[in-house]
Symmetry: C3
C-alpha cells in the first residue's frame, strides 16, 4: 500500500523541522521570561514567593492542558480506524500551536520594550488558541494529511490572534472562556475549510466513518475530561478572587443542566427511544461552550442552568436534524459535528454574554464591576453599550472565521500536501504503521488499496 | 429488538426535563452566590484576592470531580457489554445529583437568611453526596433502567442529606472523608435496594455478567484514578492548614499498604495462585474508604498503614468468600461487590475513627485540637465521649441506609420505570444504539431477543 | 496451564506481607509528621493556614502521582497480551516503593532528632524514586515475575537514595527534575539488570512482543499524561516562586519542540514514510527528561526548545538504529526502549545542566542565584566549578547504576522468584486470571502451554 501522493517521508520532516527552527529563531530573538518567571526580575520585587502568579494559575493551566491533549484527542477517537490519527495528529498540531500561539498572541498582547514576556498566563492563552485549531481539526477529521493540518494551524493561529486582539483590545469585549474567540471562531473557520475541501465521492469511505464499541469508550474518556475541567477552562484567565470562583461555579451548573437536557433529547429523537453515543459524547459539553462569555458575569446559578439546558437542546437537535442538511444541501462534511458542539452553542454563548453584560448594574456587581466590566465601572460607557460591543464582536468573529477559512481552504486544496483520496479517508493505515489486530483489518485495508489502485490504473 | 417495556422514548425525556425544570425553579428561588463568589459581597470585604477560598479548595474539588466522573464511571466498565451504560448512566446520575445535592445539603447546612449560599465547598459536598449514589448504583449495576436510577437518586440524595445533618450537626461526629456518610451509607442503601429488586432468574444473563480483556483495562483507568486522588477526597473539606495536609498523607499511606495486602491476598486465595482483576480493581481502594473518618485525626503514618492493611485483607476475603454467600443465602445480587469495597471497609473506618477520637489528648493535638474535635477542645465533652458519638453515628447511618433502601427498593419495583427483563441484564443494547463491533455482538443480542420474544409469546 | 515454577500462591503473599509488616514496624519506630502536618507543631507556629506547604506543593504532587500510576502504567500497556501486568505490576511496585523510599530517603535527608519527618515534599520525593524503579521495570517488562520486581525494588530504592544523597548533599549538584538521579540512574540500572537476565531463546515469545491496535491506544493514554504533567514533575521540588514557575515553562517548551522533532524523525526513518507509534509514544517525552536538570536554571525558552529538539532526534534514532544493535551485539533486551527515552536523553540533560550551570552569572540570576546555585551565590565556588560538580555527578550516577544493576541482576537470577520461561514471556496468563476475550486468545495461550509442556516432557 505504498502511495506516492500520501507518502510523508519527506514532506512531514521538512515541515516539522522548518517550523521548529523558525520557532526557535523567533523565540531566541523576541521572547523573554516575564517578571514572575525571571530569576533576577522576580527577586528585585518585594513580593513573597507565595504571591507568584504560578500558584494562582498553574492548577487551572494543567486542567486546560488535559482538555487540549486528552480531551480533544480522545473525543475524536470515536472513529473505528482513526484512533492513532485522532490522538496523534491532535498531539502534533497542539505541540506546534502552543509555540506558535505564544508568538502570535505575544505580538498583539505581550510586547514589553520590543520583547514578548511569557509566563503561566501566556501558556494558558496559547493552549486556548490551540483549542480553536483543534475544533477546526474536528470538522476536517479523517480527510486531511498531517502536513495540511500544520499548514492550516500556521494560518489559523495567526487569524485567531488577530481576532482576539480586535475583540479584547480594540473593541473592549469580554470573553474569558472564549465562546466567541475559541468556539465560534474555531467552528466556523473549520466548517468553511471543510466546505472548500468538499469531497463529492466521500461515500466511498462511509463504512469507516462510524464507531465501533471500544472506540466509543475511548471517546468517552475525552468527553468526560472535557466536561470535568470546563469550569477550569472558563475561569483560567478571569480576574483573580471572586471572578475565577464564580466562573467555575457557573460553568459547573451549566454543564450539569446541559447533560440532563442531552439525555432527554437523545432518547426523544433517537431511533427506538435509545440513547445515541454521538449526542452524549458531544452535546453534553455544549453547556460549557455556552457559558464561555457570560460565565464570569453575575449570571446566577439558575441562569447558568437555563443556558446549559438550551445549549443541550440545540446541540442534540443540530446533530439529529441540521447536520444531514448541511451535508446534503450545503456540502459541508463536518466529521465531528463541530457546528453542533462549538458553533451554535458558541453563538448562543455570545448572545447570552451580550444580554448579561447589557443588564449589569452596580447594585449587583458592587466594587466588583471593575474586574468584569472596567469601562462600565470607570463610567466610560453604559452597560448597554458593553452589550453592543459583545454583539459586534460576534459579528467580527464570524467574519474573520468565514473569510479566513475561505482563503485557507483554497490553500489547503493545493495538491502538494499529501491528502488522502476519497476512498481511503478515516483510515490510520495511510499515515501510520498499523499493527495487525485481531480481526484482520490490515487485510481489509490492503483490499481497499488494491481496489483503488486498480481503479487508478484503469 | 424494540421492546415497549424498556423503551425510553418518552419516559427518560419526561423525567430529565421535569427534574431539570424543578431544579431551575428551586435554584432561582433559593440559591445565592456565597461571599467568596459574589462580586459585590467579595469586594465589600477587605481580603486579598489570594485569600479567596477558591485557591485552597478548588484543586481538591477537581480531584474529587475526576473520581466521581472518571473513577466511578470507568471502574464499572469491567462488564463486557455494559461500558456505555456504566460510564453513561454514571454521567447522567452524577449530573443530576450534584444539582439536587446542592439544594438538599443547603437546606440543612447552608441557609443564610432564607437563602442557600454556594461556593467551592458546596460543590465538593455535592460531589461527595453523588459518590454515595454512585456506590448504590454499583450494587444494582446492569439491572436497572436510567429512569429507575434517577428516581433512586432523588430519594437517596435526600436521605443522605438527612443522615449527614444528623451525624455532623446534631450528633457532632467527625467524618471528613465519609467512611460513614458516603461509603457505609451508599453501600447498605444500595445493597438493600438490590435485595428488594432480587431477580431469581438472573442466571439467564450470567454469561454477560463478566469481563473481557479490554473491558478490564478500561476498568483499571477508574481504579487508578480513584486510588491516586483518594488523598484529595478525604482531605477536601477538612480544616485548612495541617489538617488537609495530614489527611492527604494518612490516606496515601493507607492506600499503599492496602495495595500490598490486596495483591498478597489475591494470589493467596485465587485459582492457581493467579491474581484476580476483581480484587485489584476494588480491594486496593479499601484503604481509602477505611481512612475516611480517622484520616484527619492524628492517626500516625504507621497507624494509617495498619488500617489499610486490614481493609485490603477484609475486602479480598469479602469478594472471595462473602459475596457468594450473600447472593446464595441472602439473595443480595451485588454486581460490583460494593459490600466489599465500601460496606465493610466503611464500617472499619467508622470504628477506627471512633477509637482514634476516643484516645485523643491535648498532648498530641496541642492547639490543633480545636480544628479536629472542637467540642473536646472547648471542654464541652471528653475525648471518650467523642468516640461514643462516632459509634452512635455509625448505627444511625446503618439504620437510615437500611430503612431508606427498603422503601426506595419497593418504589423502584413499580413496573413503570422500564427495567430490563432477567434475560437481558448487563446489556448496553437495551438502552443504547450500539455500533456493530468486530465480533458480531449485535447478532448475539438479536438472538437473545428473539429467544426471549419467543418465550414471551409461548 | 498450572506451572509450579511461576505459581505465585505462596511466594507473592509471603513477600507482600513480610515487606508490609517491616514497613509498618519501621514507620512506627522512625517516622513522624513534619511541622506542616503535625497538629501540635503546626499550631505552635505563628503561620497562617494559607502558608502551609500543602497549598504550594500538593497540586504538583498529584500531577506527579498521575504520571507514576497512570503515565508509566499505561505507557507499558502497548504489548498485546501484557496490559494487566503492565498496569497491575506498575501499581504493586509503586505502592511498595513510595513507602520504602520514604524510609530510605528519610535516612539520608530527613532525620530530625532520630526521627524521619514527612510531609508533602517527602511524598513527592518518594514518587520520584518510584519513577526510577518503574523505568527499570520498563527494561525488563514481560520477562519478570512480580516477586522479582519487588526484590529489585527493595535494592534499587536503596541505591537510588544513596546516589541521590551523594549527588545532592555530598557533591552539591542540582538535579530537580532528575535527569541524573531518576532517568539516567533508572535506565542504566534496568539495562544492566536486563543484560544479566539475558534470555537467548526469547524469540520464542517474539509474536507476543508487539502491539495490537487497541493496546497502542491504551499506551497513548500513558504517553499523553506523562507529556502533559512533565512540567509539574520537573518543578515539583524546586524552590518556590520564580523557580517553580520557570522550570514548568522551560519543560513545556522543551516537550513541544521535542514532539515536532519526533514526528519529523519518525516519518523520515520509518517504513514507507509512515509514522511509528513506538516513536510517538516514547520519543516525544524525551524533551521532559532532557530538561530535568537545567529546567530550573535560566535556560531560556529557546534554549529549552533546542534541548527538546535534540532529545527528540536522539531518541528516535536510538529506537530505529541503536536498539537492534544493543540487542544483537550487547545482548541487552530492552522491552520498552528505556535507553532511548530515559538513558540517552538523561545523559543529554545532565550535560545540558552542567553547561548551563557553568555559564551562570549574577548578571542573569540577580538575587535569584541563591535559590538555584546557593554555593555560587555565597561565593564559596565559581559557576564553572558547579558545572564540574554536575559532570562528576553524572559519572557517579552511571557508576552506581551499572554496579548496582550488576549485583541486583545476579540476585534476580536465583531460580526461586518464579520467572516465566522463554516461550511464555509477555503473557498475562502466567500471573493473572485472564477472562476469555472475543478472539479466543485463551485457547492460543493454552496451545502455547501445551506445546511447552510437551517440550518439557520430551
Amino acid at each position: 500500500m505504498t502511495d506516492a501522493a500520501t507518502n510523508m517521508r519527506l514532506k512531514l520532516p521538512i515541515v516539522c523541522f522548518i517550523l521548529q527552527i523558525i520557532l526557535i529563531i523567533l523565540f531566541g530573538t523576541l521572547v523573554q521570561y516575564d517578571h514572575d518567571t525571571d530569576a533576577r526580575a522576580w527577586h528585585n520585587q518585594s513580593k513573597s514567593d507565595y504571591e507568584n502568579e504560578f500558584y494562582y494559575r498553574y492548577p487551572s493551566f494543567q486542567d486546560v492542558h488535559v482538555m487540549i491533549f486528552i480531551g480533544f484527542g480522545f473525543l475524536m477517537t470515536f472513529l473505528q480506524r482513526y484512533g492513532f490519527s485522532s490522538v496523534g495528529f491532535n498531539f502534533l498540531i497542539a505541540a506546534f500551536c502552543i509555540q506558535w500561539a505564544t508568538l502570535m498572541q505575544g505580538f498583539f498582547h505581550g510586547m514589553h520594550g520590543g520583547k514578548i514576556h511569557i509566563g503561566v498566563e501566556s501558556m494558558i492563552n496559547a493552549d486556548f488558541c490551540t483549542g480553536a485549531v483543534l475544533i477546526s481539526f474536528g470538522a476536517v477529521l479523517g480527510k486531511t494529511s498531517p502536513v495540511q493540518l500544520l499548514v492550516m494551524a500556521v494560518f489559523e493561529v495567526t487569524l485567531f490572534a488577530v481576532n482576539e486582539f480586535v475583540l479584547l483590545s480594540a473593541l473592549g469585549a469580554k470573553d474569558a472562556g472564549g465562546s466567541m474567540t475559541i468556539h465560534t471562531f474555531g467552528a466556523y473557520f473549520g466548517l468553511t475549510v471543510t466546505r472548500i475541501l468538499y469531497r463529492p465521492n466521500l461515500e466511498k469511505s462511509k463504512h469507516r466513518n462510524s464507531s465501533v464499541y471500544h472506540s466509543d469508550l475511548f471517546a468517552m474518556i475525552g468527553t468526560i475530561y472535557l466536561w470535568m475541567f470546563w469550569p477550569s477552562f472558563n475561569s483560567a484567565v478571569t480576574a483573580q478572587g471572586d471572578d475565577q470562583h464564580r466562573t467555575a461555579m457557573n460553568t459547573y451548573y451549566s454543564l450539569a443542566a446541559c447533560t440532563l437536557a442531552t439525555y432527554g433529547m437523545s432518547a426523544l429523537t433517537a431511533h427506538d427511544g435509545k440513547l445515541d453515543m454521538v449526542h452524549i459524547q458531544n452535546a453534553a459539553l455544549a453547556g460549557g461552550v455556552a457559558a464561555g462569555t457570560a460565565g464570569e458575569m453575575m449570571l446566577t446559578p439558575y441562569g447558568s442552568m437555563i443556558v446549559g439546558l438550551l445549549a443541550g437542546i440545540i446541540s442534540v437537535l443540530g446533530f439529529k436534524y441540521l447536520s444531514p442538511i448541511l451535508e446534503d444541501k450545503l456540502k459541508i462534511q463536518d466529521t465531528c459535528g463541530v457546528n453542533n458542539l462549538h458553533g451554535m452553542p458558541g453563538i448562543l454563548g455570545a448572545i447570552v454574554g451580550a444580554v448579561t453584560a447589557a443588564v449589569a448594574t452596580t447594585d449587583v456587581y458592587g466594587k466588583g464591576m471593575g474586574d468584569v466590566f472596567p469601562d462600565v465601572a470607570s463610567g466610560e460607557i453604559e452597560a448597554s453599550h458593553q452589550g453592543v460591543r459583545q454583539i459586534i464582536s460576534l459579528a467580527v468573529t464570524l467574519g474573520i472565521a468565514l473569510g479566513g477559512g475561505l482563503i485557507v481552504g483554497f490553500i489547503l486544496k493545493l495538491p502538494v500536501f499529501g491528502a488522502p483520496s476519497d476512498s481511503i479517508c478515516y483510515e490510520d493505515g495511510i499515515y501510520w504503521e498499523v499493527p495487525g489486530d485481531e480481526e484482520g483489518h490490515e487485510e481489509q485495508l490492503t483490499a481497499v488499496n488494491t481496489a483503488e489502485s486498480e481503479k487508478l490504473n484503469s
